[in-house]
């Protein structure tokens, strides 16, 4: 029971990281980024690349993935979104547009990387910490064994991923509530047309939010090989649906609600897996439908939904 609860929180924090980028993009632009899971998948491939080519700790892939995808996101925004916003029904068409994008990403990755499952040895993650410890404090280079929490051992990568997620969520909070850009972002989130009328450069703010959303997704992707065991180019689609369940659970359009949604999801997932394992696959979907029907604004939500 303790094991399931702690593992649920650890996974939950990670799941929040998975969902938060999607929510940011939806909240700001009313765009459903169906390619979200594929960005995760690409993040995982950056981690694979860092380990495979440089042979260093995959944690170094975190800043790399973030920077690469912020830039890619801004670029992508300018190519796709202004045209989309001009069409008759942007929200609906965005689903199809980004589905097309996800197909392209998946196909290109398959062409270059093949369809085989990739994984990274979990002891590689966090080696940078042990190295620093050895250099500065002496002592022996112990392998990153399981980490003890409440008398139970958990794989080190889970804990590292959870801590990174916490830091990332904290940074998103700082960005949204303590920077000028964040204030502008929230203005665009609540009323796009009024923000435009007050003279906010909506496109620039949205592009930034889009880039950050994609960057966070890629960071989450770096940990995907450790949390899910392995990744394939086709992994994106499942990740997208899971992210949606988390985001809706928190509340669509409220990035910080996602943190709560992720933890609730992680706990439910671990508990169901422990006690009713054959039904665990059903959980995200049923949860998603029930939440949408009962509380469409999510657990924390005010009524942000226009419908």
């Amino acid at each position: 029971m303790t094991y399931a609860l702690v593992a649920g929180v650890l996974f939950g924090l990670y799941f929040s990281l998975v969902g938060i980028g999607l929510n940011l993009v939806f909240g700001v632009m009313r765009i459903v980024n169906l390619a979200h899971g594929d960005i995760l998948m690409l993040g995982a491939f950056i981690a694979l690349g860092v380990v495979g080519i440089a042979g260093i700790d995959p944690l170094f892939a975190v800043p790399l993935a973030f920077v690469v995808f912020v830039l890619a996101g801004v670029l992508l925004y300018w190519v796709l979104v202004p045209r989309l916003q001009g069409s008759a029904n942007p929200e609906m068409l965005s689903i199809i547009l980004f589905f097309g994008l996800s197909q392209v990403i998946e196909a290109v990755t398959t062409i270059f990387a093949g369809t085989s499952e990739r994984s990274i040895q979990s002891r590689l993650l966090g080696t940078v910490f042990t190295t620093i410890k050895v250099k500065w404090f002496g002592g022996k280079a112990a392998g990153a064994g399981p980490i003890q929490i409440f008398g139970q051992g958990f794989p080190a990568p889970w804990v590292i991923a959870a801590i990174t997620s916490l830091i990332a969520i904290g940074l998103v909070y700082l960005y949204l509530y303590h920077t000028r850009l964040g204030t502008l972002t929230r203005a665009v989130m609540s009323r796009r047309d009024e923000a435009l009328a007050t003279g906010i450069d909506v496109d620039r703010v949205s592009a930034a939010a889009f880039g950050i959303g994609l960057g966070i997704a890629a960071v989450a992707g770096v940990f995907a090989p450790f949390m899910f065991g392995s990744v394939t180019p086709a992994f994106g689609a499942d990740a997208t649906v899971t992210s949606f369940a988390i985001v809706v659970l928190g509340s669509l359009g409220n990035p910080l609600g996602t943190a709560l949604g992720g933890v609730v999801y992680g706990l439910c997932y671990m508990l169901v897996q422990t006690y009713l394992s054959s039904w665990a696959d059903l959980l995200p979907y049923v949860l998603l439908i029930v939440i949408l029907l009962l509380r469409p604004s999510g657990l924390l939500g005010r009524r942000v939904r226009v419908a």
Partner: protein, 306 residues
């Protein structure tokens, strides 16, 4: 109703005749069968998306439910195949009724909830705990009813019914009312349209045709796994085919299926990832440059497209 008879004569009749005669001259019957199935599904998407604006991202849920309805009838009750196909359609309607609360959601919320619903049905059917009823993830084998020829003609009949339904929607006050609801539900209800009933009928009709298609598919292939009949590709293909041609028209989805599924069969089998790439780019280009589908090329010039 002059237009309706014109549409029946010049669109439906040639389509049915061509697909009824083709097996005699063309050897790849599986390919023809798939064309007919996708024509049904694309028109089914057209009924719900084109006329009511609900994007059924989990449309395959009805298809799979129909296939499993068929399989369970045949496995457990030894029902004759045509009757089991009808039961497949009824199962899909039942699922549609179960999912009617989803119609309260709008826009992207509906699409996502529908996707989740289809995945939930997949995992429900594929659950090892239900092996006694659905055979779980191990798939079903229905060699007793295997008869591809009959199944093919049944598919052509269902296709004719589906296209007929779309022709009816296109030419009747009912279809006009539906489109009014799609454009502006509040104004439509002020004008005396019973929104809820209208949407329900369109939703259940599109569920029914997908269920019938699923039952016939099960009849035709006779051996399948949950992942086959609940594959997201069915939803996606059907939606993209319909959109590519142009929804809320009779000919749009037909054109979409013939062109896109044709391309798929030319290059998709040998190099699926290149097809996926082209396909993805095509979808993106479509949304960005031609959001109303191929038929909009003609309507922009002022030609009338049925």
């Amino acid at each position: 109703m002059l237009n309706a008879s014109k549409h029946l004569l010049f669109i439906l009749a040639p389509l049915v005749v061509v697909f009824a005669l083709l097996p005699g001259v063309y050897q790849n019957h599986l390919l023809l069968f798939n064309f007919v199935i996708f024509l049904i599904l694309a028109q089914g998407v057209n009924i719900i998306y084109g006329f009511t604006g609900y994007l059924p991202f989990g449309y395959v849920g009805f298809f799979g439910a129909g296939a499993y309805g068929f399989a369970i009838m045949v496995m457990h009750l030894q029902t004759p195949a045509p009757l089991a196909v009808l039961v497949g359609g009824l199962v899909a309607i039942a699922l549609g009724l179960l999912l009617t609360p989803l119609l309260r959601l709008s826009g992207a919320y509906f699409a996502i909830a529908n996707l989740a619903a289809s995945l939930a049905v997949l995992h429900f059917v594929a659950n090892p705990a239900l092996e006694g009823i659905t055979k779980g993830p191990y798939g079903v084998s229905l060699t007793g009813t295997f008869n591809p020829t009959h199944a093919y003609y049944a598919a052509v009949v269902v296709m004719a019914l589906t296209v007929g339904a779309v022709i009816y929607l296109k030419n009747s006050p009912f279809g006009l009312a539906l489109q009014a609801v799609r454009e502006d539900a509040v104004s439509a209800s002020m004008a005396g349209v019973n929104i809820i009933k209208m949407r329900m009928i369109a939703w259940l009709a599109s569920a029914l045709v997908a269920g019938l298609a699923g039952g016939i598919y099960a009849w035709y292939v006779s051996v399948f796994y949950p992942d086959n009949v609940f594959s997201g590709e069915f939803s996606i293909f059907a939606i993209v085919f319909a959109l590519f041609g142009g929804v809320a028209t009779i000919t749009g989805p037909i054109v979409g299926v013939l062109i896109l599924y044709g391309i798929y069969n030319l290059i998709g089998f040998t190099t699926p990832q290149y097809f996926q790439l082209i396909y993805g780019l095509l979808i993106m280009g479509l949304v960005l440059f031609l959001p109303a589908g191929l038929v909009s090329l003609a309507t922009r010039r002022g030609w009338h497209v049925p």
